[in-house]
């Protein structure tokens, strides 16, 4: 197991772990309704709570709200971006200190100070995140932990931050000379922020950014080749989650009136983590539920333990945190929200009977097959004229240690043509694909896509140059539906970023367009009957078609297909071949790796043959199939008489 695979969410292998979103009309509408209802209940609760509860209870609830804000950020980071932070209290502290210093030393208004504090924290997070988010798993966990401790030590030592005693006398929130320091008022202020943050987080998770990160959690390489800039998105979520921690820190500073280095303590980071995990990472609601639970647990343990253990003193409530954390990870990997959802699912109506997942065919092809004259499909305004070389590979070399997997390969693919790439197993075909699509950096040589030099660039840069690919070993987004998979392909063709996504309204129309386009492509590939089924439930052959639809969704000029025919029925193969012809007629350039040599020879305008990392033949199918070097490569030196299957 590589850590890349494991670095994702809490419970990859066992249950619904991450904040994964299913695109698809019905599911989305259901989710929307549920979230609206939940919000309405939450808001009603927030308004009513201080009127009903004792002021001591309200005081406790104020802190639950403060920590819910930070836990929500951490939950986004864990559930959405699949990244862990054991030093999140460090960001909370930076926000709290900034707010405290601005109000006490520079007499700024609490609200303005909070805004600046969030800004300062987010800038810090970007600076810290840029190097350390390149780390994974344990290394990232420990690096963030180290960051939190550095913040605590510096806050403790620096006179500017008040040394060990910190900063006190922080002003409460004030409007028009009225001080809001009653617990009920503080409760409403803090929980209004929680509701706002919850809405932002929910929108973010269910929109374009959430979908892309969900895809990353399923298959980072596939998401990257569809144009998702994983690192950038993760960094953005990291910065956003630090911003939420800073909001919490600001609230903390103004509620308590004191900030010291304890705000950055490791134990607070752990408490935040516990809140996110126990609530459940699968939904943004988890952090809020978790925060309430953990604060209640803390208060209860603080009150009860001294009765059981006379003379107990200190932060003994930690024992509850430790036990709950272990038990939750083992028995409740999805947290409370996920357990609640499962319970509700069991109580409610039984799941819809599973739709049949076989049958159908590539619809686009069948009509014109007989005529032999393919009707153009998926034309794109602005695509280079037919005959323009959109892929130019020159002198490509890739060495693994002493093994030369690719040796001085030249290749050219023009718009409006299909180039077949064949060769025996281990000839380096998939490796060449990986270099061209940016998955592997070459040792030497150049790769030009759409006129831009891209060798050594990341896959999302190649995708941005309008090259899309599929995978020989399927890289389907297994937590998503078929439409959801294809929608990820629209990532580059849509714009809503973290901010617009969080605000939701600007992104709504775009989301509808994405869904419509994805459905159109799903129909085109003959997958209409399974559009809303989980993609992982499909047979392998049809999963390949999903990958093709996904690649086409990026509106590529260059399509790189790695063994698309494997696992397809004869009818499906014919349908796919027809589709490819129509795409060619529309001006797309297609590079096709295929074991089914007959199919390649029938489809391709030119064929390149790789053997042992070298290009041993290149030309029209008929020339290549007669080439003695090719025959030898395939059949060994003895097979003089055999010819490869010629064009039909």
């Amino acid at each position: 197991m590589t850590e890349t695979e494991a670095a994702g969410v809490l419970a990859d292998d066992r249950s619904d772990g991450g904040m994964r979103m299913t695109t698809g009309g019905a599911a989305q509408r259901r989710r929307l309704r549920r979230d609206f209802a939940g919000l309405a209940v939450l808001i009603a609760g927030v308004v009513a709570f201080p009127l009903l509860a004792s002021s001591q209870l309200v005081f406790v609830a104020v802190f639950a709200g403060v920590f819910a804000l930070a836990a929500l950020g951490l939950s986004l980071l864990l559930g959405l971006a699949g990244q862990i932070s054991l030093g999140h209290a460090g960001f909370l502290a930076i926000g709290a200190y900034t707010s405290a210093i601005l109000t006490t030393r520079y007499q700024q208004n609490a609200l303005l100070a909070s805004v600046v504090a969030v800004g300062v924290t987010m800038v810090t997070a970007a600076a810290v995140g840029t190097p350390i988010l390149r780390l994974r798993g344990h290394y990232l966990a420990l690096a963030t932990l180290g960051f939190g401790i550095i913040v605590a030590v510096v806050a403790n030592q620096w006179d500017f931050t008040g040394g060990q005693s910190g900063i006190f006398g922080i002003r409460k929130v004030e409007f028009n000379g009225r001080v809001y320091d009653d617990p009920s008022e503080q409760f409403w202020l803090v929980w209004a922020a929680v509701v706002g943050a919850l809405i932002l987080a929910r929108n973010l998770a269910s929109g374009r950014v959430g979908r892309a990160l969900g895809a990353v959690n399923d298959s980072e390489v596939a998401a990257e080749t569809l144009g998702v800039d994983t690192f950038r998105l993760r960094l953005q979520v990291f910065v956003l989650s630090a911003g939420l921690a800073a909001v919490a820190g600001s609230c903390y500073a103004h509620v308590v009136g004191v900030v010291n280095a304890q705000a950055a303590s490791f134990l607070l980071s752990v408490e935040l983590l516990l809140m996110a995990v126990i609530g459940g990472l699968a939904s943004v609601w988890g952090a809020v539920v978790g925060a309430i639970f953990v604060r209640a647990l803390s208060e209860a343990l603080t009150a009860y333990i001294p009765r059981v253990v006379p003379g107990a003193s200190g932060e003994y409530q930690l024992i509850g945190f430790g036990v709950v954390l272990v038990v939750a990870v083992i028995f409740l990997p999805g947290g409370f929200v996920s357990a609640g959802t499962r319970l509700a699912g069991r109580l409610g109506a039984r799941r819809r009977p599973r739709t049949p997942v076989s049958g159908g065919g590539v619809t686009a092809a069948s009509d014109h097959e007989a005529t032999g004259e393919a009707a153009p499909l998926l034309l794109r305004a602005g695509r280079p004229a037919v005959g323009t070389a959109v892929l130019l590979v020159r002198g490509l070399e890739l060495h693994f240690g002493g093994v030369r997997a690719v040796q001085s390969v030249d290749l050219e693919v023009r718009t409006g043509e299909i180039v077949g790439l064949i060769g025996p197993n281990g000839a380096g075909k998939t490796t060449l694909f990986n270099v061209v699509s940016g998955v592997l950096p070459p040792t030497a040589g150049t790769v030009e896509v759409g006129g831009a030099r891209l060798e050594g660039r990341r896959p999302h840069a190649v995708a941005a140059a309008r090259a899309a690919r599929t995978f020989q070993n399927l890289e389907i987004f297994s937590s998503m539906t078929v439409v959801g998979n294809v929608a990820v392909g629209r990532h580059l063709r849509s714009r809503a970023g973290v901010v617009a996504g969080a605000l939701a309204l600007p992104a709504r129309a775009e989301e509808r367009a994405i869904d419509a386009e994805a459905r159109r492509l799903v129909e085109l590939l003959g997958l209409g009957d399974v559009a809303d089924s989980p993609a992982a439930d499909l047979p392998f052959g049809r999963q390949r078609l999903v990958e093709i639809a996904r690649a086409l969704a990026t509106e590529p000029d260059l399509l790189l297909l790695d063994e698309p025919m494997a696992g397809l029925s004869a009818a499906e193969r014919a349908g796919l071949a027809g589709l490819l012809r129509r795409l060619r007629a529309g001006g797309m350039a297609i590079l096709l790796v295929e074991h089914d040599i007959e199919a390649v020879m029938a489809l391709a305008d030119r064929v390149a043959v790789l053997d042992d990392g070298r290009r041993i033949a290149y030309g029209a199918p008929s020339e290549v199939s007669d080439d003695p070097a090719v025959i030898e490569a395939y059949l060994g030196a003895d097979a003089e008489q055999t010819t490869l299957g010629g064009p039909a």
Binding site: M1, T2, E3, T4, A6, A7, G8, V9, L10, D12, D13, R14, L78, L86, P131, I132, R134, L135, R136, G137, H138, Y139, L140, A141, L142, A143, L145, G146, F147, I149, I150, V153, Q157, D159, F160, G162, F266, V270, L273, V277, I305, V309, G311, A312, S313, G314, E315, Y316, Q317, L318, I319, G320, F321, G322, V323, L325, V326, V329, I330, P333
Partner: protein, 310 residues
């Protein structure tokens, strides 16, 4: 709230060399404990791929057990040995109860599991022992002078205990059948499984071994560092920094990483600022992780940490 930054000012030093050596001794003493804890990290990580965040707590628990046994009237050597034994068994129990049931979980899940164990042990110690620190007496009292450099005998005890524990572990892994099976499991897990070595048994064994070295660190260093319930956090974190310096893969490199970290900290506290002592270790950690993830003692740098296959 006003004052210079960095927060110390100094006069000219005239005993530079002796001071330097004195600081180095202090650094080696602290560094030995880091090194042993680091060995615990390496032992568990090499077989299971888990970073055991409860590693520092093994040391803390061992010290408290030894103190309790001593108070119960046992002689110091017996108390120390029993403490190591108790922690070794405890570590096995931790593996069986908390780690094994979650087999196949993600890295994040394991981080949280070991974190949960760590906090549980810590809080239990707080409930049982209270917040006050306590310490074992020095194994031998007095003070030794080597040309003006003063050395506590306990510092030598710590170094000796580190050497014995590390060599003992090394011998166990090199010379015994079980040890060889353990190494096979770490280096060639698939092959090891094929020849009938049980990964789950080796996982338990890795915790036992880590428990032993952690316990030795805790007992030997207790007389000089004042064991309290929270000491495991910093011992564990610094042990991890030491293990990272060594690339998380080799026992000698982990020990070397610990000694290096101890000395750097000690010198940094004197020549830079005593207040920033703890930040030094973590600054080193982040720089090492980002710049040279395979460790400063490893020969092949440049492999991105975390994407290496195990």
């Amino acid at each position: 709230m006003t004052g210079p930054w960095p927060p110390t000012s100094r006069t000219v030093r005239d005993r530079g060399v002796i001071d330097f050596l004195q600081l180095t001794v202090a650094g080696l003493s602290a560094g030995s404990a880091y090194g042993l804890v680091a060995v615990g990290f390496v032992t568990i990580h090499s077989v299971t791929g888990i970073i055991n965040l409860a590693q520092g707590e093994f040391a803390m628990v061992a010290a408290f057990v030894a103190i309790a046994l001593l108070a119960a009237g046992l002689p110091l050597p017996i108390a120390a040995l029993l403490a190591v034994l108790v922690v070794a068994l405890g570590a096995a129990a931790v593996e069986r109860v908390a780690i094994a049931p979650a087999a196949g979980s993600s890295v994040v899940a394991y981080i949280m599991l070991t974190l949960g164990v760590s906090i549980t042990l810590k809080a239990s110690a707080l409930l049982i022992e209270g917040p006050q620190p306590s310490a074992l007496p020095a194994f031998t009292p007095g003070i030794l002078s080597f040309g003006g450099v003063l050395v506590r005998p306990q510092d030598l005890w710590i170094l000796a205990a580190t050497a014995v524990a590390a060599l003992g572990l090394y011998g166990f892994l090199e010379r015994t059948v079980t040890g060889k099976a353990f190494r096979a499991c770490a280096e060639q897990p698939t092959a090891a499984r094929l020849v009938g070595i049980s990964p789950s048994r080796m996982s338990t064994l890795s915790f036992v071994l880590a428990g032993v070295v952690g316990a030795v660190a805790g007992v030997a260093s207790s007389p000089v560092i004042q064991t309290d319930w929270n000491i495991g956090l910093f011992l564990g974190l610094k042990g991890f920094v030491a293990a990272s310096l060594g690339g998380l893969a080799s026992i000698p490199a982990a020990i070397a990483g610990g000694l290096l970290l101890g000395v750097v900290e000690s010198l940094g506290a004197f020549y830079i600022s005593s207040g920033l002592r703890d930040a030094i270790a973590f600054f080193v950690l982040i720089v090492v992780l980002v710049a040279r993830p395979s460790g400063v003692f490893s020969t092949h740098a440049g492999v991105r940490a975390g994407v290496r296959a195990h």
